[in-house]
Subunit: 214 residues, 2 copies
């Protein structure tokens, strides 16, 4: 990671802003720290100047800081955009990540934890609060109650292609089998996965890890 020179903090509460300012100064020693106290001011600062790091609060008086993440990353692809918030729920987290956030820190972490994560930036470590990292991992974990579905090699082949959007006919052609056969496999797959639409089958395929939604 390059040195952090220009930092933007978007935070409406003065006390918290001060505290963040202090943390950043102590841990990252940047050349300058700008402060924005609203979504709109944040947008202006982002447009007007390039930053190496942004700390963005989500609960702003005139909207969500989430809306700033994408513009920031679009303008400064290789800078870091870290969400600093008290929202510990999946919606805010994954919304921010989908917008392009490079880190997610909870402001009600103990200070040592927060500091450690923030300073880890210099070593190229994405800043993530413990509970956030756990949520991230959980996203991939299997549901253990579920009886494991075992598809045969061929069934997986078919489902993989179907989930990617191919028709049964094209799938059959690609695998060099009759479309009757492919359709037959689809029946088995539907039965095994307990679904009755391509959409559901696709969800399952992703869940099993046959295709990635990228």
């Amino acid at each position: 990671m390059d040195a952090i020179r220009q930092v933007l903090i978007v935070e409406d509460l003065p006390d918290v802003a001060d505290w963040l300012h202090l943390q950043v100064t102590q841990l990252l020693a940047p050349q300058a720290i700008d402060l924005a106290v609203s979504r709109e001011e944040g947008q202006e600062k982002i447009t007007g100047k390039d930053y190496d790091l942004a700390l963005i609060d989500l609960g702003l008086p005139d909207g969500s800081g989430m809306d700033l993440v994408r513009p920031f990353k679009e303008k400064n692809r290789h800078s870091l955009c870290v969400v600093t918030t008290i929202f510990d729920d999946a919606e805010h987290l994954f919304g921010s990540l989908r917008a392009g956030a490079d880190g997610y820190l909870l402001k009600d972490d103990v200070e040592s934890e927060f500091s450690q994560q923030l300073s880890g930036i210099l070593a190229g470590r994405p800043p993530l609060s413990s509970s956030i990292a756990r949520k991230l991992l959980e996203q991939f974990h299997p549901i253990f109650g579920e009886k494991e579905v075992t598809l045969t090699r061929r069934e997986k082949d078919i489902l993989t292609l179907i989930a990617k959007g191919l028709s049964v006919k094209h799938t059959a052609e690609k695998l060099g089998i009759s479309h009757y056969t492919a359709a037959s496999y689809m029946k088995d797959i539907y039965a095994k996965l307990q679904v009755n639409s391509r959409a559901e089958a696709t969800l399952k395929a992703i869940h099993i890890g046959l295709v990635n939604p990228t």
Copy 2:
């Protein structure tokens, strides 16, 4: 996090096993550490005894340690299963996570990094190497090249339900509109998303964040 009492290390290379043993002893001070040098021995140990923590190598002589993750977690739901490997690729990572891994450490990290992550377990922090955490985040990041697709509120409503597996008719009923209308929206959605199957539309819906593949 409770104290770590019983630890299992699955690692075929004696040198590495020794090193891991040392790390665990120093950082977590457990009551006992068991060692398995193969997939099969790992399976036996898992079956025979309960552990609070498992460190599992992936590249074992008689198979992949990945196959041990799920059995371990199934037996000991609240213990931690950490993959320790040199494989820094998405396939091994996400495969392990889908199996239920609670952490993923690269053995070729610098020792201080490895130690820090390992000891973080006591504080309830999931052990993740930097590059692994980045991969995790990247999984959710948008593709910035892509022109942002803007679906209308109604289009999102329809797509959300369709992606969950509902038919057009059911979707229409649920939203209290004619099935003609719903079908009409679907056409617009297909055009906007540049897809031509439910499967693809579902992938996009996940990508956009309308539904989660859980």
